[in-house]
């Protein structure tokens, strides 16, 4: 019994070390919040279009789709942009954009300058659609299934690895792309 007590510090150390190993894994970011929206119905939104048709939940429902919140003032969005271009040109995924708290002319200029990966873009000037989705920093990307339920959320710019290992397989499973 008493001998066992001497093992306690060792056990404590192992527990702590194990936690550190876990927390040091690449890709572990303590600032990323788990989304409470996963598997819930996507909030209703109906936004005017940046050029041409607007987008709404009812309009997109029926087939899985991907919504990307972006803004011209957002630096990480530019980092993510080439990946989005590839996704739309090579993989032809149903990608829709929501311009979050951005002036329409600025969003338009961004898309003319760097290319437009979106099938349609909605204007969310006051950030209300973002608020309903639980957006707390752009870019954020949501995968919505055919019944209109959110299945996956990516906070911050997606990486090529996340796209290959998570987004594309999930989208395929849902019967999209």
């Amino acid at each position: 019994m008493k001998r066992a007590l001497y093992l306690l510090p060792v056990l404590l150390f192992l527990g702590l070390a194990g936690y550190f190993v876990l927390a040091l894994q690449p890709g572990y970011d303590p600032h990323v919040l788990p989304s409470v929206m996963i598997d819930k119905e996507a909030p209703a939104f109906s936004l005017a279009g940046l050029s041409g048709d607007g987008i709404s939940r009812e309009g997109l429902k029926g087939k899985p789709f991907v919504v990307n919140f972006f803004a011209s003032w957002c630096v990480p969005c530019r980092e993510e942009h080439p990946l989005l271009m590839r996704l739309s040109e090579k993989e032809h995924i149903p990608l829709y954009g929501i311009a979050y708290k951005d002036r329409p002319e600025d969003s338009r200029r961004l898309l003319t300058q760097f290319g437009n990966p979106y099938r349609a873009v909605g204007i969310d000037n006051d950030g209300r659609a973002g608020l309903d989705f639980g957006v707390y920093g752009v870019p954020e990307t949501y995968l919505v299934d055919g019944s209109g339920h959110i299945r996956k959320k990516f906070t911050g710019p997606m990486t090529a690895q996340q796209v290959q290992q998570e987004l594309l397989p999930m989208l395929k499973d849902l019967g999209g792309s």
């Binding site: 919040l33 788990p34 409470v36 950030g127 608020l131 989705f133 707390y136």
Partner: protein
Amino acid sequence: MRPILRSLCLAAFLLLSGSAFAVEPNEQLADPALEARARSISTGLRCLVCQNETIDESNAGLAHDIRTLLRERLVAGDSDQQAVQAIVDRYGEFVLLQPRLHPATLVLWFGPFILLAVALGGGFVWMRHRSNATEVAPPLSQDDRVRLAALMQEHES
């Protein structure tokens, strides 16, 4: 004005100006009772982009949006609880500065008390053990006394 009086005035103004200006005038509700409720709720909600500031104190855009949403819900006739729930539904319980009590937060709520109890219990056992262990040393034997006397003499001489 004398310098000392002047600096006292300045100090008083600085104290008053504190954190009151995050809530912008155009956000405030006309009904003072509703506004007071909104203020008291928003001091308990975390701003998600500047974590560990309340949305009441934060100047971040997101904090402004959440304050506006909160006031909208209150005006629409929500109870305090319903209004808070509307925000928790979007951002999760992380927005609550005081976490709710449920199985996942039991350790958070009671862990410190359990640790304290363990530490006190351990300390108590250790103290008792120690007081039992302090026995009086046996008196010196005849041989020891002779050796001691010899050593003392050596030292003194």
